[in-house]
């Protein structure tokens, strides 16, 4: 489903990835770990076509990531960002901005699984906690009908209880190929495989 071949990536003369290879099979859940600056977020950006490696190739669902294929590739990807402080009023406003075919009933169900009621979609992002905001964003993202899920530090604002709920929710997802970047050992342990960068 996801394949990186002999990737060489540097940024501002700093080598980030050298001769890096990765293969993630369909339905697999892989966690990228490693200290800050090791290239976890860069790798996730590369999979979405925002960062182009100096050498090597990236394939998503058999398609080489390039200027001509990137639009099609992004239609298959869900991205949960590290920065949850998006400048939008609330969850409903975010759903409206996405204007995709996300099913609201699915979002409500995911919110419930993550320990929040559907009323939280109306809650002002400025008046709720970081953990609540992160769960709302995750629920909205997970309800998108796409196959590949990329998550950058999905547990960063969550407490242990919420992390457990998220792990359970992810475990119950079907037909999703997941790559996440995380420092959290509990999260990493819940994935099929951990790759240290």
């Amino acid at each position: 489903m996801i394949r990186c071949e002999n990737i060489h990536l540097s940024y501002k003369n700093k080598l980030i990835l050298s001769d890096f290879n990765l293969e993630v099979k369909k339905g697999e859940n892989v966690c990228l770990s490693g200290a800050s600056g090791k290239g976890k977020s860069s790798l996730l950006n590369m999979l979405q076509g925002y960062v182009i490696p100096q050498k090597g190739k990236v394939f998503i669902d058999g398609e080489l990531v390039s200027a001509t294929t990137v639009k099609n590739i992004r239609k298959k990807i869900i991205y949960v960002p590290q920065n949850i402080h998006l400048p939008v009023k609330n969850g409903n406003a975010l759903i409206e901005l996405l204007s995709t075919k996300s099913e609201l009933s699915k979002t409500y169900h995911l919110l419930k699984q993550l320990g929040l009621s559907k009323d939280f979609l109306n809650q002002d992002f400025l008046k709720i906690s970081g953990g609540q905001k992160q769960r709302i964003i995750i629920a909205i993202c997970l309800s998108l009908p796409k196959e590949i899920l990329l998550m950058d530090e999905p547990t960063a604002s969550l407490d242990d209880k919420a992390i457990n709920l998220l792990i359970k929710t992810i475990y119950e997802l079907k037909n999703k190929t997941i790559v996440s970047a995380s420092h959290n050992q509990h999260w990493a342990a819940s994935c099929n495989r951990t790759i240290k960068l």
Binding site: K71, R74, N83, L86, L97
Partner: protein, 273 residues
């Protein structure tokens, strides 16, 4: 209607004595603006005197070619002013902004001069130049506000743009909130102005026409036409500018091109802050 009362130069100079009132306030409160006021009033007088000279010349010639060239110069000056005021690089934005200005002028002038006023000679300087000038002048001011907002939002809200681009898979969806914000910033003052026109404000064009001897009913009809023309012209201008801007500032991967954005004076100011 009586003939218009002309103002002779001596009386005009007498009118300038009114300036003593604001200067008096500024001086009393030690607000260091007196020099600026005097310099800029002098500039205004010189500029408008020159405008009177060339307008008389252009009106006498009334040539389609000269008038069209003059309008192109007006668009070009407007575009350069906008680029400079927003803080962008001329080489990237002169063409798209020029096309936006030209599109709005072509549509508005064809509609107003050809279809509404039904002029036999559409390039008649008496109509062609002032109406184009009104549309361009207003579009310039509102475009600067709108486009500045557009660039500012894109640089400050990159995370939202990436989030929407990745999860919707569609660039139109990703830029939509940024366009909305820019268009609202550009057009809202004009909408607010329309809502109070005649009640709180008396527009300059209407006042000018009435003073020039036109019946109020005629002046008001012209004012309605020009207000609609300005609003439509500004809307065309901002949307066309943004559409072309998007083709310039984003690469094929949807990333913002550093060469067009990160080296702008606008951003340098932001970094300095």
């Amino acid at each position: 209607m009586n003939a218009i009362v002309d103002i002779n130069l001596k009386e005009l100079a007498l009118g300038a004595f009114l300036l003593l009132i604001p200067i008096g306030f500024l001086y009393t409160y030690r607000i260091k603006m007196v020099k600026d006021v005097l310099i800029n009033v002098a500039r205004m007088v010189v500029q408008l005197s020159l405008v009177a000279l060339y307008l008389e010349f252009i009106f006498d010639l009334n040539s389609a070619l000269i008038n069209s060239l003059w309008v192109l110069v007006m668009i070009l000056v407007g575009v350069l002013t906008a680029i400079n005021r927003i803080g962008l690089k001329i080489k990237f934005f002169i063409f798209p902004f020029f096309i936006a200005g030209l599109t709005s002028v072509l549509i508005i002038d064809t509609f107003c001069l050809g279809l509404i006023l039904k002029l036999d000679y559409i390039f008649d300087a008496r109509y062609f130049i002032p109406i184009t000038g009104m549309v361009l002048g207003n579009a310039l001011n509102h475009n600067i506000v709108g486009l500045k907002t557009y660039f500012k939002s894109h640089t400050e809200k990159q995370d939202l743009y990436r989030f929407l681009l990745s999860n919707s898979g569609n660039q139109k969806t990703a830029v939509r909130p940024f366009i909305e914000e820019a268009v609202k910033m550009a057009l809202n003052p004009m909408i607010a102005n329309m809502s109070v026109i005649g009640l709180v404000t008396l527009p300059g064009m209407m006042t000018g026409q009435i003073l020039g001897g036109s019946p109020p009913a005629v002046a008001i009809k012209y004012q309605v036409m020009i207000m609609i023309a300005i609003f439509v012209g500004c809307t065309i201008n901002i949307f066309v500018s943004i559409v072309f801007t998007n083709k310039i500032i984003f690469d094929a991967y949807g990333n913002m091109k550093e060469a067009t954005i990160k080296t702008t004076r606008f951003l340098q100011k932001k970094i300095q802050r």
